[in-house]
């Protein structure tokens, strides 16, 4: 870094320069202004207690949700509808719908991401805030998914389990183990 009269020169990798020049052009600002703006946002994000890595991961998930049609809903409303109002046939039908939706999502993730399993882990971690733990372990020919929630109802857990199964089946994995208890999902898949 080189310092000169209140300004400092910072290194930027060459391959990035072209791309950020395009961003600066799109936004109608100079490259230096863009870099300064980026630094200011770094400081702001840090002061809020987050990192730019967390932000980048979050935007990946957000973009996936935008494409797939995700939206924010008060958890209390979703839980109430699932837990208290959907039982018997309605719950079975919902499970089938969540499974089908999962399959569609799985196919999308497989097409969109170079590592769809890792993308799905991020998807679960960053969008299902009611989960306390998300573990997605990839083996040679298998994937294990474990989700733990202290607040999820049995019906909510069952729906999420069906969704996850759908996602993995959509990525061409076969289900070999499916355990689902209130707030706990353990699934294993093989290629």
């Amino acid at each position: 870094m080189v310092t000169d009269r209140g300004k400092r020169l910072i290194y930027v990798s060459e391959d990035l320069l072209e791309r950020i020049a395009k961003v600066a052009r799109d936004e109608g600002i100079s490259l230096n202004k863009l870099v300064e703006g980026a630094l200011m946002e770094t400081v702001k994000v840090n002061e809020l207690g987050y990192s730019s890595k967390q932000m980048a991961d979050f935007f990946n998930v957000l973009q996936t949700h935008r494409v797939l049609g995700g939206l924010f809903v008060p958890s209390v409303v979703l839980d109430y509808m699932i837990e208290k109002l959907c039982d018997g046939d309605a719950l079975y039908q919902l499970q089938a719908l969540w499974y089908e939706s999962g399959k569609w999502n799985g196919k999308y993730l497989k097409e969109k991401f170079s590592d769809p399993i890792d993308a799905f882990r991020h998807f679960l971690e960053l969008s299902r805030w009611d989960l306390n733990e998300v573990e997605v372990k990839s083996g040679a020919n298998s994937v294990k998914v474990r989700c733990i929630s202290t607040v999820m109802s049995l019906e909510g857990t069952q729906l999420l389990a069906k969704f996850i199964e759908g996602v993995m089946n959509g990525m061409n994995f076969k289900t070999v183990q499916a355990d689902c208890l209130k707030g706990m999902i353990i699934l294993e898949f093989k290629t």
């Binding site: 930027v12 961003v23 932000m55 809903v73 008060p74 958890s75 209390v76 699932i82 969008s127 299902r128």
Partner: protein
């Protein structure tokens, strides 16, 4: 090399050091992020605001759920026990308004409008107009199912009521909500 303000470079350098990165790596990561969000049609500044808002929504107990699944779930629930599910949506709306007020936000409707514009991407057309003590809200969303429109209408009623308004006019059709209210 690019020039940056000395004070900013200093602050960013300290952050990088604390997080165990070099300033070079951190700035390059950040610029990658700027490129990514630019592809989404937003600036880095807008992205940070959206991120902040999303984290607030998370802390307020919201879940990010797939739209079709929510509409199906809402349909089943509404067909089964409409009065109960309507009450839950109304209460959730009132709670949202109360949360804004409790956080010292004087105009919960303005805060909600901002929230919807950034994260309510299933609602392409949302207008909130004020005239003295009166407000007029219009929502148009071709994606809303019929039952979801009715439930969302109740949610909106909850927000307005929680923010201290009385509903004076309400018209609901699939994907179309018009509501007028007066400040108490």
């Amino acid at each position: 090399m690019l020039a940056a303000r000395d004070d900013l470079a200093d602050k960013a350098g300290k952050i990088a050091q604390r997080r165990g990165f070099t300033l070079f790596a951190m700035i390059n990561d950040l610029l990658e992020l700027a490129i990514k969000v630019d592809n989404l049609g937003i600036s880095l500044e807008e992205a940070v605001s959206a991120y902040e808002l999303a984290r607030e929504i998370k802390d307020a107990g919201f879940t990010l759920v797939l739209e079709t699944l929510l509409y199906d779930t809402a349909r089943f629930a509404y067909e089964k026990k409409s009065a109960e599910v309507l009450k839950t949506w109304f209460d959730a709306g009132a709670w949202v308004a109360q949360r804004y007020l409790a956080r010292g936000i004087k105009d919960p409707l303005e805060a909600y409008e901002k929230e919807l514009k950034v994260l309510g991407w299933n609602i392409p057309d949302f207008t909130l107009e004020r005239s003295g003590k009166n407000v007029s809200v219009r929502i148009l969303s071709p994606r809303f199912s019929e039952s979801y429109t009715i439930l969302f209408n109740r949610y909106l009623e909850g927000i307005l009521t929680g923010a201290g308004y009385d509903i004076t006019f309400n018209e609901v059709g699939r994907g179309n909500i018009r509501m007028e209210a007066m400040k108490r």
